[in-house]
Point group: C2
Chain length 398, copies 2
């Protein structure tokens, strides 16, 4: 048998993935599982998506332009310019999800062996995209105690080497729910300017910012036009994850032109998804308000409920739909597996994401789990009940 | 400005792409261009695609399984098994087009610096996928004189080095239209068995085989289960290029498991595309017959018409919807550009793909162009007229 590639061997299998067989086994036993482990919301997709697709009768479902339909890019540029980002359709490449936008960015801007600095904990798939592109992830740790704020600029600068090419943030943050402040964005700007680095900002959760804390896009930063790259997606904004439509946005012409070479090789992003995505730009405010209030209520409920469980500490996140909870346990990987394999409460259990998968530094996050509040409140309630009961009897309780 | 990656610089810009600005300029001048340069057919998409999408009313457009919907994989396995390929749903990964299937294959099976042998001329984007994965393309030349048949096994073996990991073929072939025979497939099998290589077969044109010449899938080969990987797509089969649905099919469990790690990072293939693709499996024979006869008539027309132009030689291809024509010209890149920038016949011109882009060996293909017969016969007729007139006055005529 011919060998598998080294990259293939190195591709991380995240802690959540290791739980999947245990979840399947639990389901086979008839167990009800509350999934707080995933980023797939139960929120209904913006209705204009299927309306546009239903109204579409193409004789031939053709390739689109490799950068995406021009009509869509024009509308999307106008959408960004509601916030005065000064984006042209030429600054935008429509991609197959935010995932592809990030892959194209890494491939276009980083040589194999070069380094990308990412505040940890971070979205676990960043590891996979980095391995695929041969890029080395250099974590800089943010802490539960400090609310998962951006690490001090001096801590970030300590991580910069001659091989550093860029910094990647997710804002609002997955998995912490942290929302970077104006000052933090300015700190990042100063660093990328000083060292001439790329600043890549994954802003797919930008619609979900709570408590009137303002969101600051990387596109607001002045004087670093050539440095900043925005990763966007319709997945969370309109609860349309399955469309696989994202965008790479940058005013750096060389980056867009280089990414275009990768884009042309794969021909085009999905045509039906683009029809839906373009139409959804006209989604009325009422949809976002409804969704926002739903998430807000869920967040308030779950954070308070988790903090009421003895020994549990949970921050009140300002963005996205995740929070990191600190639990009185020995090891989150063992605990999350035990929840599926050994535990049940009235034939129910809960699936959580072990936080170890979000840290690149070994040993960190062992007492933390990521909680995604993507279920309706009744289910969140039952999930919290399960967790409370589980922590009473978990053998590895501290 | 931070630097662009070396890969980004190396990503080939194919000769067709270099023609695009000239085509745009011609269009601005009001010129009618007959596009024989592209693989986007004008054939109507199998009607079950949009029918299924119109009948679909998802409340939430969710991520699918990273390997694609199980229902689709089951149906697709059954489809392959009409030819007794002995494929299970676990052997199949649904991908975002054949492009992604090939990218995942290269990433999973090849280390950077390792080599893939490809008979040239070959589909130009293979170069791009190879550069992205850091894989070195080693061409083995097939010739116009020999009908673009598979090079002799001894010629292929000469190209094998300790770094060789696999052989990639496209069957029926893009750009030559060549259809590999039973004997040629056996020769390839013997080589991959002898040297323990992967044999990757891109069979996206399998529905288009003419003159009762049988098609032989890589999946028919016995005793090399761990070596063979099939790249498939719905793009050409159902004329549904824009759906971006393909498949990676292999009985090698390690390859599928490794590819799954890359697939999980990008979450899922497009959901709407999968709905359409699954439904299209039930497309009645009448659709394929109609399309087949349309292509057959086009092929017969264009090959005969091209051969009637003085100095032009064109093979009668047995598959796909391309043929390579040899023209009495100095340089196909210059000629194809001249057609767009300088030539017009009754305000019309024709766009062709310079064959240089399909060869990895420098200097080859200079007198050849790829002709895609993806337009209706009236347009093919006008395109041939343009070419005939152009060759009368082209300054670089030999």
């Amino acid at each position: 048998m011919p060998p598998i590639s080294e990259k293939g061997k190195q591709m991380p299998s995240s802690p959540i993935r290791k739980l999947v067989p245990f979840a399947e086994e639990a389901r086979r036993k008839g167990r009800i599982i509350y999934h707080l482990n995933i980023g797939q919301p139960d929120i209904h997709t913006a209705p204009l998506a299927m309306k546009a697709v239903h109204a579409s009768h193409p004789k031939v479902i053709e390739y689109s332009h490799s950068a995406g339909n021009e009509s869509y890019r024009k509308k999307l540029a106008a959408w960004y310019n509601r916030w005065n980002y000064n984006i042209t359709p030429e600054n935008i490449m429509i991609t197959t999800g935010g995932s592809e936008a990030l892959t194209f960015t890494l491939m276009s801007c980083f040589n194999p062996g070069e380094e990308i600095i990412i505040p940890e904990p971070f979205y676990a798939n960043y590891n996979s995209f980095a391995v695929a592109a041969g890029v080395k992830v250099v974590p800089v740790t943010s802490s539960f105690e400090n609310n998962f704020a951006l690490p001090a600029p001096s801590d970030i600068e300590k991580k910069i080497s001659p091989k550093t090419r860029g910094i990647l943030i997710s804002n609002p943050n997955n998995p912490t729910g942290y929302l970077y402040s104006f000052e933090e964005m300015q700190q990042l700007k100063a660093i990328v300017k000083k060292y001439d680095l790329y600043l890549i900002s994954d802003e797919v959760y930008r619609e979900f910012c709570y408590d009137a804390v303002p969101f600051h896009s990387v596109m607001e930063l002045k004087g670093v036009d050539e440095n900043v790259i925005l990763i966007d997606s319709v997945s969370k904004r309109y609860s349309a994850c399955g469309l696989r439509i994202g965008a790479l946005v940058t005013r750096n012409r060389m980056v867009i032109e280089t990414a275009m070479k990768f884009a042309m090789a794969r021909l085009s992003p999905p045509s039906l998804g683009q029809i839906a995505a373009e139409a959804m730009i006209d989604t009325p405010e009422s949809y976002f308000k409804e969704v926002y209030h739903e998430y807000l209520e869920r967040r308030n409920y779950i954070v308070n409920a988790l903090n009421e469980i003895p020994g549990v500490k949970c921050l009140m996140p300002k963005g996205a739909f995740y929070t990191i909870a600190r639990l009185p346990i020995d090891d989150c990987d063992a605990f999350c597996q035990w929840l599926l394999s050994d535990f049940e409460y009235h034939n129910q259990t809960v699936m959580l994401a072990p936080a170890t998968g979000f840290y690149a530094t070994p040993g960190l996050g062992k007492e933390e789990v990521r909680v995604a509040y993507v279920l309706k409140k009744e289910d969140l309630k039952k999930a919290v009940e399960c967790l409370r009961e589980a922590l009473k009897i978990y053998p590895g309780r501290k």
